[in-house]
Symmetry: D2
Subunit: 260 residues, 4 copies
């Protein structure tokens, strides 16, 4: 076999009794870095700095579930309902996380990054760049991705993520641009279209150096436990191949409780 | 619409500006519990006790990647290579995590649980129950799932997971049974078939009260970052629709380095 | 590379400007055999005899669609609705065709084959074997797969398939067993549980020598055009990421018309 | 429930004991139209004219399989190899049929349609429009989709499909444009880049009024039997979770034979 058939991978090096992710032996990582940090290492190539740890956990917790109505939950339950194993039901849920479901994270990241480029290259102020974004999307009759929510008027998850981001020092030109766009949207329309969880995740991911093309990896990973929970519930409490009308679901789980 | 069309869900309660997972507002969880703890909450229904936090992270880190050769990486890269978006490539990788790839976790959990039931119901000693398991699988010409590895003679990930499990007090009758089976396998055959990473994860999951049917959810979540890393690498460094021969891959990433 | 790394395939032979399926050049097959005959060739290894041609077409037409309510249509529309390309939406529909959706074909084939084995090995009459099947499934509190339908009391597709099968001489011990089981079910319960389309397909597939393990390939292929039609309709007439309540769909297509 | 929640579907009408596809009772279609004709009916909304029957069969036969090396076969075998059921393995194969695998049909259709539009709107000759297509793709450093093949210098499937299309009168401005592009490519480069099977399918689909967006539905349906054949072979002749190196496969099936 000639040498030139080889191809390169920079992800993982395997030798007998040695598995190294981006150079780090996995047994060395275990107990020393968290799963979200190892996730960052796997896809970015380097470990995140210490301040990112809490934020990465918070991002992955923020979108962990949104009940039975999102298309991903619906698809996962439908595939579970026809008698498939867990992996197939998860795969169907993952397929649903696409342009119109979770895709606003990527769209928001591209919008904010473009605004920041404008500021840096043209001397435009942050406020001006934000106004341009709002005006241009109005002209195209498009919503600014990551702002407003069809159900939540003031998304508690985005508020909390921004609060944590400030505390941990993961705050800068991209999160500032997000705040400026929120303000510009209100000034332009008189309606409150606050940054939603997709938008807040997008802004914070940009602060950590994540490119827009990786946004969906965060949303899919975040939502995975929710998909599993709905699949398990479907299989253990419902008849096979029922017609799943999500609007007819009623919540009968524990009442509100808080982590101290 | 008559009341009896309704159906129950105990996972997530949604109201305007309120999203509660198993009762906990998600914004309350953010910054207070880690993603692996929220994962546990989502699928089990209750938050894990504090000692589990480090173990859950370690489990999810342990199987984060195993290079380009596993079927899940291969399937994910193949689907990426034909021009699909990230979600489809991840879905294909998830489909590969099945009976013969990751499935040993579930198999090992069932075996260990059966051994423990025997001890508790018949007064048999742990050593005797372990010997029975080994003899019975030999009679069926089957391997005991979770022991031995075709590549690693002494899997550093299982050693590290057991070390951490002892430190954190996640050690009991299931992990003891795993140790006894390892010993019985050696006595029976004279060959070392040490517990592998699947077996160690299985034993520790049982200690935390996870049922075997949920094992694959942990493996799929653990492997997700690895799948993403291979998908991104395929898309950014390789020509579309190439023939992917995993044996021809050479690792050109960072040399060994350690987290302190 | 040593010779022993090679592995065998008996499906297709490729040389420059030659593609042979099971030995037949594909350009030789084109225009001479129908797609359903080539399908049979691909999966069985030999071309069907001439009498099977019409039956294979009829089987693949019989399950081509069943409106928007089946889980496969629902999953395909859901994945289309979130902005995925055609292939991902089809893949999700295919995932839904499983144990409880289309799976009755395989179940019915196993039941009928078992009945025929009993007749041939024990000298039991067809009627007796059919009664045994009914009694045994009653004892197990299970339905006989392939009989009765939750919506159609007398499935016109099974009647038509059996009519064609008789005309084409694809009629024998398996279809006779199906008729006997239908009779035994009525005698046993006093309720009509006529053979449904899954059962009729199963009986006729057995007559053509298809094993039960291939049943789902026929159902998936048959349903593919229906999935595509629903995906195209969803994408071209509906807003993205809508909540799809199949019970609210109303049919507004052409009124009844007939092929002469 | 208010009336305005309803939504329209024009695909299939279901009543007890009546299933009508685009108005035609399915039992009326069975035995009277072929599966490819019913496929056309499902996705286009009307039955094809009689001359299309043979061509539809030929299109679906033309791409039925291409051995073990295409990504779709590889993905399907990989998922089968890890212990999944048939539906999951088919779904993975379907996911692989995307932009760079089968996608040339759609690309070729768009190119030919654009050439025809130019002729009709500008009075340009067919030859001139074809030359423009070649020159413009050269400027963009792109291949004209549907012409040339990395393995077959003269694809016997495209020759046969065009021969049948002429015989059946499915020949017109789109197929003529394809022939003109083939000639222009040769004149421009001195190299033969004959129309390949994707290109020939694309040209003939346009003649039948199929839009480019439906191209992939034909390729996926055509390839389905091939996927099933490889999945069945993998499951019945190979060890689970083997490393599948497609270059090491040797064909051991029947020698060349012909349908009279």
């Amino acid at each position: 076999m000639s040498e030139d058939k080889t191809w390169e991978t920079k992800v993982t090096d395997i030798e007998p009794n040695k598995i190294r992710l981006r150079g780090y032996p996995i047994d060395n990582l275990m107990g020393r870095v968290s799963y979200p940090e190892a996730f960052f290492l796997a896809i970015v190539g380097e470990l995140p700095r210490p301040g990112y740890r809490k934020i990465l956990d918070a991002i992955l917790v923020s979108s962990i579930d949104h009940g039975v109505t999102p298309p991903s939950a619906n698809a996962a339950m439908t595939i579970a309902s026809t008698g498939n194993p867990l992996n197939a039901a998860i795969a169907a849920g993952v397929l649903a996380i696409s342009k119109f479901h979770g895709g606003a994270i990527e769209g928001c990241m591209e919008t904010l990054a473009y605004g920041v480029v404008r500021v840096e290259s043209s001397g435009m102020s942050v406020e001006e760049a934000a106004r341009k974004i709002v005006i241009e999307s109005k002209e195209l009759k498009q919503r600014v991705p990551g702002f407003g929510h069809r159900y939540h008027s003031n998304d508690p998850r985005s508020l909390r993520l921004f609060e944590l981001a400030k505390e941990e020092g993961v705050w800068g030109k991209f999160t500032e641009m997000a705040v400026a766009v929120e303000k510009a949207l209100f000034e332009n329309s008189g309606k409150k279209l606050p940054i939603n969880v997709d938008g807040a995740i997008g802004a914070v991911l940009l602060e950590m150096g994540i490119p827009p093309s990786l946004a969906n990896a965060f949303f899919i990973t975040s939502r995975l436990p929710g998909l599993v929970a709905h699949i398990v519930e479907e299989k253990s409490t419902q008849k096979p191949m029922r017609r799943i009308v999500t609007a007819d679901a009623i919540y009968t789980g524990p009442p509100e409780r808080l982590v101290e």
